[in-house]
């Protein structure tokens, strides 16, 4: 299992050199820390899928002594592992450049990342072929459209904003965390069952 996760780093070792300047760019541009955390987390796991879309890769992995369950588990666990590493590096970068960030930023960034993973990972197995590009483009569009959309909602749906405001911060965070964990678990289960039915 560990080998499957390590594999992503071996395959992407050249691209990883771009990883650090990429993050520094975001930091220097004064982007919101939560956004930087999220973008940094996305790079490795999603880039890995660009490689795994090829049929040959699946033939290779499935001919090696791995079960299909393990192959999918390595994706979901790997996403968390690489998120941890990316967040560590990003925090370091933020500290070096003396940009303030809070634990809340970190929680929001990783929460958004995990939710994004939960929604998109099954898509890689439902659709054949070049879906990575589609997902990355939709991510960028989403990142641009979502914040104004949310503030629009906040202005016009006062019932929901009132409800959220009435909750204590800790209750709100716990609730969101539980929802994300559930989403992640369901997504993992769905992807596993899709992958087990696949033919290569």
């Amino acid at each position: 299992m560990f080998n499957l996760i390590r594999r992503d780093a071996i395959i992407q070792k050249r691209q990883l050199l771009l990883f650090i300047p990429f993050i520094i760019f975001f930091i220097v541009m004064n982007s919101h820390p939560a956004l930087i955390f999220m973008v940094a987390s996305i790079i490795i796991p999603f880039n890995a899928y660009a490689y795994d879309e090829k049929a040959e890769t699946n033939i290779l992995l499935n001919s090696l002594p791995y079960t299909r369950k393990e192959i999918i588990a390595s994706r979901y666990i790997g996403a968390i592992v690489y998120m941890g590493i990316s967040i560590g590096l990003t925090s370091l970068g933020l500290l070096v450049f003396d940009k303030p960030f809070t634990l809340t930023d970190l929680a929001i960034g990783s929460g958004l990342f995990l939710a994004f993973v939960a929604f998109t990972f099954p898509l890689f197995y439902i659709f054949r072929g070049k879906i990575t590009t589609v997902i990355m483009i939709s991510f960028i569009i989403l990142a641009a459209v979502l914040p104004p959309f949310v503030s629009f909602l906040a202005k016009h749906l006062t019932i929901i904003t009132d409800l959220i405001a009435s909750l204590s911060t800790s209750a709100l965070y716990t609730g969101v965390a539980v929802v994300i964990v559930l989403l992640y678990a369901v997504s993992w289960g769905v992807t596993t069952s899709i992958y087990q039915r696949k033919a290569f």
Binding site: N3, I10, Y51, E56, I59, N62, S63, L64, P65, T67
Partner: protein, 288 residues
Amino acid sequence: MENVVELKGVAKNFKGFSVNNMNLQVKQGFVTGFIGANGAGKSTTIKMIMNLLKPDVGEVKIFGLDYATHEKAIKERIGFVYDGNVFFEGLNLKDIKRIVGPAYKKWDDALFYQYVEQFKLPLNKAIKTFSKGMQMKASLAVALSHHAELIIMDEPTAGLDPIFRRELLDLLQELMLDGSRTIFFSTHITTDLDRIADYIAFIQNGELVFTQSIHEVAETYALVKGGMDLLDRDTEKAFVHVHPAPTGFEALTDNIKAVNTIFGDSVVIERASLEEIMYYMKGRKSYV
């Protein structure tokens, strides 16, 4: 355990193509050649043996174990070589070793480097720069470096030059010397098999026609040549397929004894090559 691979009543249906009621045995310690025309179902069968495809019905057992409960244990003991390159193209052989090696408990680095040297493979060049023959050698080096008991190869000789093909066959023969290894490989270049195969499994239109030792094949099938005047509705029954020509007929028989009693010395009986058997068997379908 005599059969390393055992397929029982296996069937797989695709749109416009199917493998039907496949009962295949691959005996331990021998080389079994898997022959058939393009599209006969060789790759489909190999994919079912590797659990890349699940059969609709039937049972697949490898080393007497089934994939549902022993997937990892089975694959630990298999070395595989596929027709195309399955490794990440942009990586060099060293990185591929770093990915594939740790997957196997019995991976042997020293053995791997020995094959790399023997095959004269560059360790630091990307796989995509390799020629077809080198890619094949690289796959083979990987397949042989974890002491696999069963080596499965899908068209390993396709696209190779004749010299390397011979080298490959020699190497396979060497591998067989230790006695416990089993090799199962598909090919449509039947001359490869005359040299090294002990058993022949012949598939046609998704059905297994026979699995026989190479001697049984030679004893069962023969090419018969004679004058057209010898042929009539009754005598033709002794043949699988007849190829008539103005100068006389050529036919394949699977009943040499009957041919002997019917025609005696009036025909010439020759040994049929695998290619001829494949060719005449193909005629049989349209003949019926």
